[in-house]
């Protein structure tokens, strides 16, 4: 029957495999298994890397981040200095032209990146801390604490978010740090709800119950056992959060209540296009800023989506 196997070999094959032998064979398999039994992070990273769009976006985003960090050395000119002709189209080493008072538009865009990244990361950091803490507490303890936090969450989530931010920022006196703080302090509710939901399912799982039974302190359980299991959704939420924060900051600055001039932000650079002259005859003053916001936000959204898919294991089709 096993024609392609030689008789002698065949004979050799038809013996019962003993425990030791099987262990060796199984050993091979376990090794094999170890390969796809990569650590969780590695698996997610691997899946993420398969998403071309997300990877390109990540590269774009890292470039923007580097631009923000090294803004001073990357800028061809000083940030607020009038160094060129006034309102000039791109010329010489003013690759994107100059504005009303001869400042280099490219330089200002580069520094605008800094603003976007500070507001993006800063506010997200703040709201992740608030949202995660409240979500953990709310989900884990339940009861009055939970319903109190949830009421607060619902109330603030249903409010016209941008209107409140706009009012607060303009009344508090705008500026990059005010924008960051207000955005951070007001953006936590969705994350809080997300974390709470996750905690509710996780806390019923065996390993948590075991930890409780073992007598671990509540903070220890929250931080060591529950937190690591909610990190992925937080990460995804935070990624999208950066995009939202960047957009919100740009909108506020566009309306003139965000980042205070003379500090350049993509939004306040774009706001100059509300002048018909700039809009129609000086496109270099506003189109690049708009495109930059768009690219940054799009890139972050793609990264977020890539992360989400990688974490949820959904096949990218």
């Amino acid at each position: 029957m096993v024609q392609h196997v030689g008789d002698k070999q065949a004979e050799a094959l038809f013996h019962l495999v003993d425990a030791v032998e099987r262990a060796t064979v199984l050993g091979n398999t376990t090794e094999q298994l170890a390969n796809d039994g990569d650590s969780y992070v590695k698996t997610v990273a691997k899946r993420f890397m398969k998403n071309k769009l997300a990877v390109i976006s990540l590269v774009v985003f890292v470039l923007l981040l580097l631009t923000a960090v090294f803004a001073d050395s990357l800028s061809p000119h000083p940030r607020d200095a009038s160094v060129g002709m006034f309102q000039a189209a791109p010329y010489d080493n003013f690759l994107l032209g100059t504005d009303d008072i001869g400042r280099d538009v490219l330089t200002r865009l580069i520094h605008g990146t800094q603003v976007s990244m500070i507001v993006g990361f800063g506010s997200v950091l703040i709201y992740v801390i608030i949202g995660t803490t409240l979500g953990l507490v709310s989900g884990y303890f339940g009861g009055i604490v939970d319903s109190l936090i949830m009421r607060l969450t619902e109330a603030s989530m249903s409010f016209p978010f941008f209107m409140v931010i706009l009012t607060l920022v303009s009344l508090l006196g705008s500026g990059i740090w005010v924008v960051t703080a207000v955005l951070g302090i007001l953006s936590w509710p969705p994350l809080c709800r997300l974390v709470r939901g996750q905690v509710l399912t996780i806390k019923e799982q065996d390993f948590v119950l075991a930890a409780v039974a073992t007598g671990y302190s509540t903070p220890a359980i929250l931080v060591k056992h529950i937190l690591p299991n909610v990190l992925s959704p937080i990460l995804v939420n935070a990624t999208f959060g950066i995009a939202t924060a960047i957009l919100t900051e740009a909108s506020l600055s566009f309306l003139g209540v965000g980042v205070k001039k003379p500090r350049p932000s993509w939004g306040n650079i774009l706001s100059e296009a509300q002048s018909l002259r700039v809009l129609t005859s000086e496109p270099w003053r506003w189109v690049p800023a708009g495109i930059l916001i768009f690219i940054a936000v799009l890139a972050i959204n793609f990264i977020g989506e890539g992360l989400r898919e990688a974490i949820e294991g959904e096949r990218k089709s």
Partner: protein, 316 residues
């Protein structure tokens, strides 16, 4: 049901009260004296005092708040600092344009987005889906003020197809046609986001629904795709979609701030900016309160919609 609605409306009262207090504190935290905006730069202290008195800013904060509250309960939301016109009619006059703008936007968006989302979900993985989801990503990522400026540049300035802003032609005809003509660009800008957002949402909801066992049951019954979609898919997908509509609706109040500003649309968003710039405190209070009321009503409406769509939900 009536009892439930009554209960909900009753519980809204303390919430509104809290919001009004919070808004009052927030507004009065602002540095600078609004009186400065309403006197000549060389005003004497006496003149300042007279204006402060006329604006009701001469009292202590608790007294100011109580005075505001007692008047508000009688339907008097105070006066505009600049024109001294009662706030309420001004506010009311801005509701129409904003509702027209946002209503059109949401309607157009949903009419476009819901079929797109369904198509995208049904064609999951095909180039149609890739195109639609890609488009949706672009739609949610493009800043509306950039898009607005771009559209103004192309369609209003260069092609002159649409006006750059405003809602009506004065002294000419103020027909619905004219309003629609003015609506096109701002609605295009606003619906870009809403279409993109809703398409994504409908897509993922439909994918979720199509993963549900009852859809498998329906398929196993041998129903046609059309029947499965309309009788089993959409109605169940509506439940989560209502939630999203519920978050979209409150934006009727202030969601179009940037777009109203760019297109000079005489709605609540622009009124908000005006009120902020002019430190029109009673106006800001009124807008905040209005949005709170809208939110509470929309939430109630959404919960009632759930009951209509989902037989599992009953309010007693």
């Amino acid at each position: 049901m009536k009892k439930y609605i009554a209960k909900r409306l009753l519980t809204a009262i303390p919430v509104l009260l809290m919001i009004s207090i919070a808004a009052f504190i927030m507004i009065n935290l602002a540095p600078g004296d609004p009186t400065n905006l309403y006197v000549m730069p060389d005003a004497t202290p006496e003149q300042m005092e007279a204006t402060r008195r006329a604006l009701g800013l001469d009292q202590s904060y608790p007294v100011q708040y109580m005075r505001w509250l007692t008047r508000a309960l009688r339907g008097d939301l105070g006066i505009s600092y600049s024109t001294r016109y009662p706030v309420l009619p001004i506010l009311v006059s801005r509701i129409g344009p904003t509702v027209a703008l946002m209503g059109t936007t949401l309607l157009v968006s949903y009419i476009i987005a819901i079929p797109l989302g369904i198509i995208s979900a049904r064609k999951q993985g095909t180039w149609v889906d890739t195109l639609l989801t890609g488009g949706a990503f672009i739609g949610v990522s493009i800043p509306n003020f950039f898009l607005g400026l771009g559209l103004i540049y192309i369609f209003a300035v260069q092609l002159k197809w649409f006006p750059t802003g405003g809602m009506l032609e004065l002294g000419g005809n103020a027909s619905i046609l004219s309003v629609l003509h003015h609506l096109v660009l701002p609605v295009a800008v606003l619906s870009t986001f809403y279409i993109a957002n809703m398409t994504r949402y409908v897509r993922s909801t439909m994918i979720d629904v199509y993963g549900e066992n009852y859809i498998r049951t329906a398929t196993a019954k041998g129903l046609t795709k059309q029947v499965i979609l309309t009788r089993h898919g959409i109605r169940n997908a509506l439940i989560p979609i209502i939630t999203i509509i519920g978050t979209d609706l409150p934006r009727l109040v202030g969601g179009a701030i940037v777009t109203e500003q760019i297109f000079q649309w005489p709605g609540l968003g622009r009124l908000t900016i005006l009120a902020i710039n002019q430190r029109e405190y009673p106006m800001l209070m009124a807008i905040t309160l209005l949005s709170a009321v809208v939110v509470l009503l929309v939430n109630l409406l959404v919960d009632m919609m759930y009951a209509v769509v989902d037989p599992r939900i009953k309010y007693d």
